[in-house]
Assembly symmetry: none
DNA sequence: CGTATTTTGACAACCATTTTCGTTTTCGCG
DNA sequence: CGCGAAAACGAAAATGGTTGTCAAAATACG
């Protein structure tokens, strides 16, 4: 683990929120580092590969990263009118996906789940 | 609703899967249409605004769209090596998704689930 | 030290998506 | 119909996050 990569990890850990690569790059530069944007991307990719950070995509396609201290895997309930998203989780689905994989002899099973609906507020109008 | 927009909606309805704008554009052109890529994007945006299609982002940031009807509902277990897909279904997830929607006051709840893994044959090699 | 390997960063390339803008089609109405 | 306004269209250019390239710099190792 190089010093630069460590710096990216720390910058990410400094906030519990999801941060974009561009934000992290700006923050590091603002803090005096001479790091390059390319390196930030590479560091984030490496961290994500090793499972140390969670990655997801915002609605406009930007990748955002978060330090992953709780290994929290969750899904989203998205309003199809206003795009508000609620985080949801479900041991139920996790178990179901794993069972399905087993049943058909699949290994290394992962899954993606997205739930859509119209939120309470948008339903009223 | 213009003819072109209607064509996009039909192309999308032709498959129950999520399709990208680029795929739809290619399919329409292959079918002899003189439609432009710009128009495909505009049509998808309009359809998504009016709630007729669901949109989500793939892991590599591409937007994918799906006609929003609830018929013939099932999911896929896809091998990430050879892409073989097994159809699976699960009252479990259906119920879970519905519950999640209810719990947060969402109406008209739909969902999408994709399960990935390495199939038995590919695991061996 | 000296060489091999890895990491870095400026810059160019990529590619899905959006914007621009001039042209074409559709619509409303007499 | 005819005609003008408004909307839709499409080609090309712009945008912007992300990835590839490659030579230079840092680091590892004998």
């Amino acid at each position: 683990m190089s010093a630069r990569r460590e710096a990216v990890r720390e910058a990410l850990s400094a906030s519990p929120e999801f941060r974009s690569a561009q934000e992290l790059y700006a923050a590091l530069r603002a803090g005096g580092s001479k790091i390059g944007l390319t390196t930030v991307y590479r560091a984030l990719q490496a961290l994500s590969d090793s499972g140390e950070v969670d990655v997801l995509r915002t609605d406009d396609g930007e990748a955002v990263y978060r330090a992953c201290d709780t290994e929290s895997h969750h899904h989203h309930l998205v309003c199809r009118v206003c795009s508000t998203a609620v985080e949801i989780e479900g041991p139920t689905v996790e178990r179901w996906a794993a069972e399905m994989g087993d049943k058909h002899g699949f290994t290394g099973v992962t899954h993606t789940v997205e739930v859509f609906g119209t939120c309470a507020r948008c339903s009223r109008s």
